[in-house]
Structure formats: C-alpha cells, structure tokens
Amino acid sequence: MKYAYYPGCSLKGTAIDYHTSALALAGRLGIELVEMEDWVCCGASPIHQRNPMMAAGVANLLLSLSGEICPRIAVLCAACYHNMKKAEVEMRHDKKKRNDVERISGIPFNPEVRTTHFLEILEKDLGLDALKGKVVRPLSELKVACYYGCLLSRPPEIAFDDPEQPTIMERVLQTAGAETVTWSHRMECCGASHAVPVTGAVLRLVNDILLSARDAGAEIIACACPLCQANLDMRQAGVFKEFGMAHNIPVVYFTQLLGLACGASGRDVQIDKGMVSAEPLLQFKNLL
C-alpha cells in the first residue's frame, strides 16, 4: 500500500512525535508513506475564514502534488485533512467552484485524488484484522479516552465516521487491545488557537475535558490533532494555576500507542515528547 503523504507544518515542528510515530507505525504495518515534494502550509486554521477561495486554491495545489506518487493522499493532522478534503469534495460536486479554483490556482483538478485520514486507512484499507495480526504488545488494561475534538469528524460532508458520534479511534485502539472509556467531552472544543489571545477561556475548556476524561476512569488521552494535543497537554500547568487541579494525565497521539503495540520502542515513537510524561504509566503497564 502506497500513499502520497502530506505531513503539514505542525508535524514537522511542534508535533514531530506524531510524524515520527506515524512513520514508525506505517513501516511496521507495510504501509508506504511517500512524502510529497515541495509542499506548503494548508493555511489552517484562519485561511478558510479569511478567504475561502484561497483556501481551496491552496488545497488544490496540495492535491496536485500527489500526482506522481499516488492519487491516494494520507493526512494525519485534523485541520489539514479538513481543508484538503473539503476542497476535494466541493470541487468534485460543484462544477462552478471547480472552474473558479482551477482558474485561480492555475492547476487542473484531478478527480482521481482521494484525501484519506490515517485512521480511515487503518480501518478501511488495511483492515482491523490485518492490524490485529501485527500487534505484538497488546495495550491491555490501558484505559484510553479517545479525543476527537471538533474538527476530525465534522462537517458531515467530509466525515469518515458518524459525524456526531464517531467511534473509529475506539475501534482501532480496541483492536490493539486497549480498553477505551465512554466519556462525554470527546467532541468538545479544546479552544484551538485561542490559547494565545484568550488563554483563560482555553484553560476552562481544557479543564472540563480533562475532568470528564478522568471521571470516566481514563489513564491516558489519545488524540489525532496537533493543536488538541498541544492544548490538552501543555495547558495542564496553567489549569493547575488557575483552578488548582493537577490532572497529570498524559495526552498522546493514537499513532504512538499503536506504534508501541506493534513493537516499536518508546524512542521510535518519541514518547518522551509530552509535557506530562507518559513514560511512568506505560512502563507500569509494561509497554515500554
């Protein structure tokens, strides 16, 4: 299985651990991720608010980069997926939009391209049975809260699972032996980029999410978005200062957990990158 891989800016910077762990996992699952050449930022998240046409134009450029590698594009970041998939779906169904975008970007739209999130690749292309066969170190007795945030499964037009009640991450992690908890705030907003201008609001949102996860008995939170991970992980110190609550709950990417389950080392998946260290918990569960 070969995919044109679009990492996006975060995965080469603040979320390098997402990038590294995904490549480590893909290698072990026989999925070939070939990074596109000369890629640019997808514009997330302000671009579609400021200039929707420009957003679609940038996305069209990115979609065209997959051309020589493979029309199937693998994306990990929730915001990149959102921008690219939305443009792809719009251009496929709206002829006028397609013409406008082609004119503005100067690049013809290739209707063959398919933007796919890595979770979807795991479940639909690889198959959960095949994934199960690759698990060498089951995540047994690890209570995971799967966190989707607002962007991963919405809006419905681009959803790869039920847009309001997605369970794809649970299904994938359960295949790797994890015990996923049922909790209420799995789709709540983490505050996203408001962390910079309105930190107080984000602290409140993060506190609510972390409380809900802990109440449900979760030991660790799995997510699929660099900004969610950054907010939930990095803001725990701020939450302690503001609300006096020390959550100390590690927040990792689902690829890191799956990588460990498939036999990668903690170093391979850069498990040490989190502000709240996941290492003591994972060592305790014999996963490191």
Partner: protein, 686 residues
C-alpha cells in the same frame, strides 16, 4: 365528407385576454371539413353547451372540437353534452388553448396563430375519429385493507358495515398498530387503548371481515374491480383455531430476554408471545429468530405445557389467493430511527443526542409506553436507567423533521401536540418535576389544539424554550443538555434526568416494495401519493386503490380515521354498481399484419396481451397473433410503440390520427392563415 363543428371558448378573460378568439373562430371556419365555427364567453356553461347541441342539430355535425381548457378539466362535460345531442362522445375532442397557449404567452399575433394551429391539429384528428363504446367490467364487491392500525380498522369496519366482505391484512401478530401503544391522546387526554380496543374486538368478530394477522401482501394482479391478491400467511407456529389463548406457553418459555417491540425495548418478552394483553387475535406466535428450538433444535417447552396441543413447529408459510374489487392502503408509519442510519442512509441520525448510547435518552413512543398503564412501569414515569422518578425532563422537538441539513424538509405535524401532551402526563404524575421543551415553532392547528398547548404551558407549567439543542452528555446521575434559547439570546444548560426526543413520522421502512406491487406512486420520503392533493385526497392515481392514514403523510388520529372513512366510502360507491365502465381507449392488433414476434407481450406492464392461434374450420393452425384483453388494457400505448410490424394501434390514438395531426403542422405551402394573408395583401394593394 366530415362536418366538423369548432367551438372556441373565451374562458371569461382567461383565454379572451391573450387570444383573439373571434379570429380563431373565423380561421377555423375556413379549415377544410369544418362546417361550423363560433366563439363564446363560457363554453362550459349551460348556454354554451346548448350552443353546441343546437349546432349539431342545425348543421348535422359529425365531429366536435371544443377549443378551451385542458381535457383534464372539461372533456367529460363536453363529451356528455355531445352524447345528449345524439353523437358518440368519442367524436368530441378538446384543443387546449388555455394551459398550452393563453396562460403561457403574451397577447400578440403569434399567440393567436398558435391557437389557430392547435385547433387545426385537433380538427385533423377528429376527422379520423371513430365511434367507441366503453368497455364493461364486472365489479367484485369485496375489499382488501392492508394494515390493521386505527386507519385500517376504521376502513375495514366501515366497508363491512356497508354490507361487503373485507379482507384485512396485518403484518404484526395483532391488529391495533401504533395507537395501541399510546398512553393517552390529545387534546382530551382520554385513554388510547380504551377507545381503540372495542374497535379491535369488532374487527376480530365482524361476520364480514376476514382477518389475516402475521400476514403480508405478496402479489397483486388485475385491475380495478378485479384484483387478484396473493397473501402470505407467515408461519405462526401456533394453530390459531386450537389455541385458547391461555398464555401458559409464554409463562414457561425459557427464552425471556428479547426486547419487546410493543414496549419499544423497555421491557423484555419471551420467544413465544402475545404482543400485548388486549391483542386481537389473542393468540401467541413463535418468534423463530429467537426461539431456542428453532436455533438449537431442542427445548419444545411450549409444546409440552400447551393444554390444547396447539403448538406446531412444522407450520410453514402459506399462500392464499383472494379476489377483491378495491384496495385500501393503510400501512401507517414508523418513527424516525434516531442515532441509527436506518433504512435511509441519505438522512443521517442524531449522534450528538446520544440516543441508543444512554438508556435515559428515549424517543416519543418509548415515553408513551412509560406513561401507559399497560406499560413496563405500570404507568409510573420512571427513568429506564435506575427506576427513579425523573425530577426534570427535557423534550426536544423536530427530531427527524424540518431539518434541511439532514435532507428532511417536511413537518411531522403531530410532534408539537404529543410533546405538549407528554409534558402534561409527566406533570400529572410527578408534581414537583419540571418539564422543559426545546421547540422551533408550536404548530397546534386543529380543533381545541392550541387551547391544549396553552394549558400545558400555563396550567401545568411546562417551560418552553425556543431553540435547538447542540449536545447532550452524561455527567454522573444527570444528563447535561446544552442548547440555545433564541428568544433571550442566551446559551442554556439544563441538568436533566430524562431526555425525550420527539421523533418524526416516517413511512414504514421498505414500504416502497408494496407500493410497487400495487403500482401506486410515492414521493421522495416514500409517502404514498394521492391522485390530487386537494380534490382527490384519498384516491391513488391507480383506479380502485385508496389511501388511509399515515402511509400518505403525517397525520393524527382524528385525521387518519376521517381519511379511512373517506376511503371506505369511495370503495362503497364503487360497490354500489354491478359493473363499471372503462375508457375504450385500448390497444387493438391487426391480425393480418401481426408477425407474432411477441415483443408486445413482453413489454405490456399490465399483462393484457396474450398469444392467440387462428385455425381454419378443420382445426389446422393458420397463424399465431397477439391478442389484447380490453378489460386489462389501460391504453398506455407501450405495445403500439414497440410493435415491429406496425400492427398495434390504440383506439382513439391511431397512427393515422397522430400522423395527420403532425402533417397538418408541417403543411408547407398550404394557405395556413388565409384571412391574415388576405388582409396583408389588401394593405399592400392599398
């Protein structure tokens, strides 16, 4: 030589405003074969009709063209008038210069010319019309009613009381439908079962009603007055005649954990079961998908305990044939399936409300069961999760209706009223509780309906909040409902013990297969379509098939009952005659030219064409040809279009007639508008 009379109608201003009718009459008078042409303000009025009759007598007319509105509107009127004057009605045709001309064009020269052309086309046709005689068909005075809910019950009782036999087919083990599940009914709060069960008993014991429960319509053949229906009686595994309904089997059945359909999953039932105590017939049925004997091959406890020896595991599906003259479709509704994609993947569920993932989030019918005296809690309103009375209940309206982003545009009509009723039932049982309702609009049109909603708000203190809910999630004992109150502009967060989703009426899943068997049309949501939305609301476009209840669109009980009685009286009107006349527009085969390719036999949607052998006196086969049964033929013309050897013609629409219509348009070089040209020439000369 034909003597055609042409009558141009002004239709008041409708045609007269745009078309110069006098000129049309003048031009028509010059068409070859026209003996008389005139115009009049209202041709359909009594003086107008007399004008036609008088002209027939005075000029000895052999054909009539009325140039007025659409034949859908007044063809019958004029054909009747012509018949009274002694001419075969099928020699009268209408040229539509209203819908096809005056209503869609401006007043100008071209419009009048178009009207003249439309008249000329029709004159050419009428010249070639031949007298036709309506086909007489015998009427089978028995009716089939499909569906045993309140609409089906009412229709069956009305027809049976009218003195005719009724076959009532119900797919569930008992009649009663959804109304049997309801607790109390709006706007009077009388007990639903108490008013329905006497009717159910009547249906079960009426001498004119033959009841097939646990049965489905398999096949429908024939046509109005002469339907042949095949009914599949599903294997009940219980001999309904031997069984006394003692219920011993259901007490002893070891398979007890099957969610009850009647109680909407709030209670369990056994594998052999009577759906509810008041069932008609009060006879059990074995659910073979859950029965231990049918799954594992041993058990047979019910057979051992049955004192009447009625349990029969060997029973198989049985097919019976019934002949009926009319069919009433009353297949009812199913609630929108929340949280699941259901049978319509294009309409996604409401994952954000968590239905199906939390036991305290229930739908409208589940609340009915909670409030019903015969329900799982005996009428006490208790939370499904822990059995405690809920201190605050949030009702969400418009779930599965009026939601364009989910591709649902229609209003389910009954939810506003049943939600108001729910809040009252709740407040009457839990006095210190609070009922919240999130609504978009309150639609309570109906006799005493708005008064009822006001009572729920003003006397029983239901808190109505205008807005929708974005999310529901659990926090410990409570459900947190996040919504908007758009009147105050504030975001609302309510801690609820129970959430009730006012789910919408949808047609029965998969009902389109039945509609296709019946040959009736349906809309995008799979609601059956009536023949005319205002003037023929209980009839289908297919003759002899009538609609009752929610299969046609969302309805409350009084409306469903009224429509059922309407459908029943339509059937009774048909039964008041021994035979009926059918339009003689049927296909005819020219036996001299038929080449017996049988294409027409294959394409005929009504199976009206058969293969016929022509033999000489000694019995030697001369030729095989196709033959049309005029009482089955509907005159659709498919065979005529298909025929390779041009041997099939449709009476009243023969190839000769149609080609002459077209030719009259193409008549190049002919003096098409003589009076216009004469005028033009006169001007040029002047």
């Amino acid at each position: 030589m034909s003597k055609i009379g042409v009558f141009i109608c002004h239709c008041g201003e409708n045609i007269g405003r745009t078309v110069d009718c006098a000129r049309v009459a003048k031009a028509a008078g010059r068409i070859r074969g026209v003996a008389f042409a005139t115009d009049y303000k209202y041709m359909c009025s009594d003086p107008g009709q007399s004008l036609i009759k008088k002209a027939i007598a005075d000029h000895g007319l052999t054909g009539i063209v009325v140039s007025a509105c659409s034949p859908h509107m007044h063809e019958k009127t004029f054909r009747k008038a012509v018949q009274e004057a002694g001419i075969n009605p099928f020699l009268c045709e209408m040229a539509n210069i209203r819908e096809h001309c005056s209503w869609v064009h401006e007043r100008n020269e071209a419009t009048t010319r178009k009207a003249i052309e439309l008249v000329r086309i029709m004159v050419e046709k009428v010249k070639r019309n031949v007298p036709l005689v309506p086909v007489r068909v015998k009427m089978t005075k028995r009716a089939l009613v499909i569906g045993g809910g309140v609409a089906g019950i009412q229709a069956a009782l009305d027809i049976a009381d009218g003195g005719h036999e009724v076959i009532l087919v119900e797919k569930e083990p008992s009649v009663g439908g959804h109304m049997a599940q309801l607790s109390e009914t709006f706007p009077t709060l009388d007990c639903s079962q108490c008013i329905l069960t006497p009717k159910m008993v009547d249906v079960g014991s009426h001498p004119n009603i033959k009841l097939y429960t646990y049965s489905e319509v398999e096949k429908v053949d024939g046509f109005v007055g002469n339907f042949k229906v095949t009914i599949k009686k599903k294997a009940r595994s219980v001999d309904i005649d031997k069984c006394t309904g003692c219920g011993e089997c259901q007490l002893k059945c070891p398979s007890k954990k099957i969610p009850s359909e009647f109680d909407r999953g709030l209670k369990n039932r056994t594998a052999i079961y009577i759906p509810f105590p008041q069932a008609v017939p009060a006879r059990p049925v074995i659910d073979r998908e859950h029965c231990i004997y049918f799954l594992k091959g041993k058990c047979k406890v019910c057979q051992k305990v049955c004192p009447a020896g009625a349990v029969d595991y060997e029973q198989t599906d049985e097919f019976v044939q019934e002949e009926v003259g009319a069919i009433v479709v009353a297949t009812g509704y199913e609630l929108y399936s929340v949280g699941k994609q259901g049978p319509y993947p294009e309409r996604l569920g409401y994952g954000e409300y968590g239905y199906g993932t939390d036991p305290d989030i229930i739908d409208g019918l589940q609340f009915e069961r909670l409030a019903s005296a015969s329900g799982p809690t005996g009428g006490a309103i208790l939370r499904p999760s822990d059995g405690k009375p809920p201190q605050s209940v949030v009702f969400l309206k418009c779930i599965g209706s009026r939601h364009p982003s989910k591709n649902i545009f229609f209003c389910s009509k009954i939810c506003c009223m049943y939600t108001a009723k729910h809040t009252m039932l709740y407040k009457h049982k839990v006095h210190d509780g609070t009922a919240y309702v999130f609504y978009m609009d309150i639609r309570s049109a109906g006799k005493n309906y708005d008064e009822f909603v006001r009572r729920a708000i003003e006397e029983d203190g239901a808190v109505y909040l205008r807005g929708r809910v974005s999310r529901i999630y659990r926090a410990g004992e409570k459900l947190i409902v996040k919504g908007a109150d758009t009147l105050s502009g504030a975001a609302v967060e309510i801690e609820a013990d129970l959430v009730v989703l006012a789910t919408a009426i949808m047609p029965q899943p998969g009902i389109e297969t039945l509609f296709q068997k019946l040959g009736i049309s349906y809309d995008g949501y799979k609601f059956a379509s009536e023949a005319h939305p205002k003037l023929r609301p209980v009839e289908c476009a297919t003759a002899g098939i009538f609609l009752a209840g929610c299969c046609q669109g969302p309805k409350d009980i009084p409306e469903a009952v009224a429509q059922a009685s309407g459908a029943a009286s339509k059937a009774l009107i048909m039964f008041s005659k021994d035979e009926m006349l059918r339009d003689p527009v049927v296909a005819r085969v020219n036996e001299n030219t038929c080449i017996a390719c049988w294409y027409c036999v294959e394409v005929c949607p009504y199976k009206a064409i058969s293969k016929k052998e022509i033999r000489d006196r000694k019995g030697n086969l001369i030729k095989r040809v196709a033959e049309v049964n005029p009482s089955l033929c509907t005159g659709c013309g498919t065979c005529a279009a298909t025929c390779f050897s041009n041997s099939v013609d449709l009476d009243g629409y023969t190839d000769e007639q149609l080609y002459s219509e077209i030719n009259s348009l193409m008549a190049v070089g002919q003096d098409l508008f003589p009076e216009v040209e004469a005028e033009a020439e006169g001007k040029a000369a002047g």
